[in-house]
């Protein structure tokens, strides 16, 4: 036997595990993880009473009329916000992407603009816009437009960079200008992915617009906030059911649209059939109707006086409060937010994997969809009742929603993993579970980890705003300072959020590259 029987990876594995423990332990401390709090008599009583009040759901005619209007408002905010985001994303993506360029330029200016747009959570934008434009849906639409515009632009740019650049390069070498080279050389390769991602984002926008109401930007969230504050279980139940229906419907529609993208084009000269024609006609109509329904008068924003008040508002955020005392408080908020996001994502990954394993069974799919359809912020209002205000409530809320999201993604990834290795092990008599660990997981793990890390990037932004409903972290600080009109302090918090989300993005990218 040759002497080389020592596993060369053993040391780095041990070291990696120890490092992870050393980092995770204080984070669990900071998140104030106390599973016992779930079972404390007092907490059980509060949440029990609240949940008991869920039945029967409120079905009064007056309330249902409110609910119907709020639902329409939510849909309209999502659609109008997405339209704005798309209008913003296309030029930004064109500027930011390296695709179709003769020489690779990273365009740092556009890229950092995108980072700022994405890095500040939509709810923070909404909270700010509410102060400029007053309570109402306009703030929600603008917030959604800016954040999602940034996200769409970044992903569009990345998709365009990920396809084969040769066709576009060839076109440019034969004299085509850059936009045309992209249209003819890259879009045909990327169109399906681009459309699919846009539809997926619209689905997310519906969820996001639901929670806009928590900061007074209209829609279902506003109703929910009121119901929760008054501990009106019946109303909360009706609203939650509406949430779920809405999200399921959006899910179904988006699935339908994405399946439509899968079907090969019909054999005819015109690229449009009756279905795509209907869509092209219906889409602008829906967008116009949404803006009309929300009665957003953008012309009012363009007056000199509005401009002056906006400028004053922005100016009041500067200079940032950088006193040592305040920075110390913000640092504690940063640490707590980080802890919420990490603990929440980890718990979600574990629960999601467990729920994804028995994937053929319907009840698990239903549990996943239910977890996913309730936004984090709504979960937080419920978990805060269950374990009391504080970071643990935030981590739990994050975990519940994310478990639904990750569970679904995991199930898809596991379905797509090549079945042969696990099947071979099953045929060699491996006991239950081991074919999965030895055969399926090695193939699927990179994707599972990538999904988890992507989700962590989103969760850090979410963790930053869970504090709006009292679940600790930076959000709590921001909400507090804004209600006291301490704008200089608030802007420090916003800057911290931005830096934190950038840092998490970098770490996540680095980890993903390491795992490859």
């Amino acid at each position: 036997m040759s002497p080389n029987t020592h596993d060369p990876a053993a040391r780095s594995r041990l070291f990696g595990t120890l490092t992870a423990l050393v980092i995770l332990w204080p984070l669990f401390q900071a998140a104030e993880v106390k599973p016992g709090a779930l079972f404390e008599a007092g907490n059980l009583k509060v949440i029990g009473n609240f949940l008991a009040a869920f039945l029967p759901p409120e079905t009064g005619a007056e309330f249902l009329a409110f609910l119907g209007k709020a639902t329409l408002e939510t849909l309209a905010i999502a659609t109008a916000g997405m339209a704005l985001a798309f209008a913003l994303a296309v030029p930004l993506a064109y500027l930011a992407t390296g695709a179709g360029r003769e020489r690779v330029t990273l365009n740092p200016l556009t890229r950092s603009l995108l980072t700022v747009l994405r890095g500040i959570p939509e709810l923070v934008w909404a909270l700010l816009f509410v102060r400029v434009f007053g309570l109402g849906p306009a703030a929600g639409v603008l917030a959604l437009g800016l954040t999602y515009g940034g996200m769409l632009a970044k992903v569009y740019a990345e998709i365009l960079e990920s396809v084969d650049p040769a066709p576009a390069r060839a076109l440019r070498h034969s004299g085509a200008c850059r936009p045309l080279a992209i249209l003819y050389g890259l879009i045909p390769q990327a169109s399906k992915e681009l459309a699919s991602y846009t539809v997926y984002r619209w689905e997310c926008a519906i969820r996001a617009s639901v929670v806009m109401g928590f900061v007074g930007a209209g829609g279902l969230g506003q109703l929910m906030d009121q119901a929760m504050k008054m501990l009106n279980g019946g109303e909360a139940a009706s609203i939650l059911l509406t949430f779920m229906l809405l999200v399921f419907a959006a899910d179904g529609l988006s699935g339908l649209l994405r399946r439509g993208l899968e079907t090969p084009p019909a054999h005819r000269a015109s690229p449009f059939g009756w279905r795509s024609g209907l869509l092209l006609l219906g889409l602008p109509l829906t967008i116009v109707a949404s803006f009309a329904f929300l009665k957003i008068g953008f012309s009012e924003l363009l007056t000199a006086e509005a401009g002056r008040s906006i400028a004053e508002f922005i100016a009041s955020f500067f200079p940032l409060d950088l006193s040592a005392e305040w920075l110390q408080k913000v640092a504690k908020g940063v640490w707590e937010t980080l802890a919420i996001s990490v603990v929440g994502t980890l718990l979600a990954a574990i629960v999601g994997l467990l729920l994804a394993l028995p994937r053929p069974h319907a009840p698990f799919a239903f549990v996943l969809n239910t977890l996913r359809s309730v936004p984090e912020l709504v979960w937080a209002t419920i978990t805060a009742l269950a374990v009391g205000l504080g970071p643990f409530a935030g981590a739990l809320a994050l975990a519940l929603h994310t478990a639904g999201v990750l569970g679904r993604l995991y199930a898809e990834a596991l379905d797509n993993a090549p079945p042969a290795p696990a099947q071979a092990l099953r045929l060699a008599g491996a006991p239950i579970g081991l074919p999965f660990l030895y055969g399926t997981l090695p193939g699927a793990a990179p994707q599972l980890i990538a999904y988890t890390l992507y989700r962590w990037e989103m969760n850090i932004r979410m963790a930053a705003i869970l504090g709006f409903v009292g679940a600790g972290g930076l959000g709590q600080l921001l909400y507090f300072e804004l209600s006291l009109f301490h704008y200089a302090q608030a802007s420090t918090v916003i800057a911290a959020m931005l830096l934190l989300s950038i840092a998490v993005d970098q770490t996540s990218t680095w980890l993903r590259r390491r795992m490859r």
Partner: protein
């Protein structure tokens, strides 16, 4: 008796009949080569014996287990001699029994089913998952528990230096040999090899087939290998089974396999082979074989 098929057929859900009325019996320690044109049903036959696919007709016994058509095999008490009629217990073969059976069958797959990101050492050790206790298999994911064993198996296929490499860093031929090393490490009573050397150059193919044969001979294991190269089959295996269009065309000692038989077997494939008229003299012989085997088997 290693395995015994009695009138076994396989019809897919779409109505395509891959195998029909296959009767075949192998004693423990026999080494059999399956030859025949592409699509004849060699892989299907190996899948049936390996309990990967349930037969849709006939009866099947593998390593003292009676496997019924729905892959819910029934245990046959080993005390009963193979010549007596099996009296399957009425209970369905439970997961444990089915795993116990499968742990004794080693399969070399045509496309090695190894996850790209798995390390070679783990891929080889996975051969013993059916035999190891679960805690050991779990622990081995954290740190490989039998490095010398895996290295010894890899050394036999000349890949000891790839022990800690990753499967996606190997070439197709190297990967196929890792698949063989896994089966060598598993040490099964029945080795089923489906085109085990299809990705190897001729010299390596010969050495690898010899290795499989030698391993089976040394341990008294049964070996059934489907091979494309007829010379490899004739020179290394004592018994040759020709498969054609879902039927067994002939089942003879290798010394009795004539050129005429081979031309008949591959007649429909390739331009150079002369198209011989179908001769009836082989069918009666196969039928006689069938009757004898049926009498002895089930």
């Amino acid at each position: 008796m290693s395995f015994c098929l009695d009138g076994v057929g396989l019809t897919h859900a779409n109505g395509f009949t891959a195998l029909a009325d296959i009767t075949l019996r192998a004693e423990q320690g026999e080494r059999i080569a399956l030859i025949g044109p592409s699509g004849a049903g060699k892989t299907s036959l190996l899948s049936l014996i390996g309990t990967a696919l349930p037969a849709t007709a006939g009866r099947l016994e593998v390593l003292d287990f009676a496997v019924d058509g729905r892959l819910t095999a029934k245990f046959k008490p080993p005390s009963q001699g193979s010549s007596t009629v099996a009296t399957p217990l009425d209970s369905r073969l439970r997961g444990n029994d089915s795993r116990a059976l499968r742990a004794r069958i080693g399969t070399v797959h045509q496309a090695p089913p190894l996850p790209g990101r798995q390390r070679v050492v783990t891929a080889v050790l996975a051969g013993k998952l059916g035999q190891w206790p679960v805690w050991k298999s779990l622990l081995s994911l954290l740190h490989p528990l039998d490095i010398p064993g895996a290295q010894a198996a890899l050394a036999r296929v000349d890949l000891a230096d790839k022990l800690f490499g990753r499967c996606d860093q190997l070439s197709g031929g190297q990967l196929q040999r890792v698949g063989i090393a896994r089966v060598l490490y598993q040490q099964p009573d029945l080795i089923l090899a489906d085109e085990p050397v299809s990705a190897l150059d001729p010299a390596l193919a010969l050495a690898t087939v010899k290795l499989l044969v030698a391993d089976a001979a040394a341990r008294g294991a049964t070996l059934v290998a489907s091979l494309h190269a007829v010379d490899l089959a004739l020179n290394n295996f004592s018994r040759i089974v020709g498969v054609k269009a879902g039927h067994i065309a002939f089942d003879l000692p290798s010394s009795e396999v004539s050129d005429a038989l081979l031309h008949e077997l591959y007649a429909s494939e390739g331009q150079e082979l002369p198209t011989l008229a179908g001769e009836a003299r082989f069918s009666p012989q196969a039928a006689a074989n069938d009757a004898a085997i049926r009498a002895a088997c089930c």
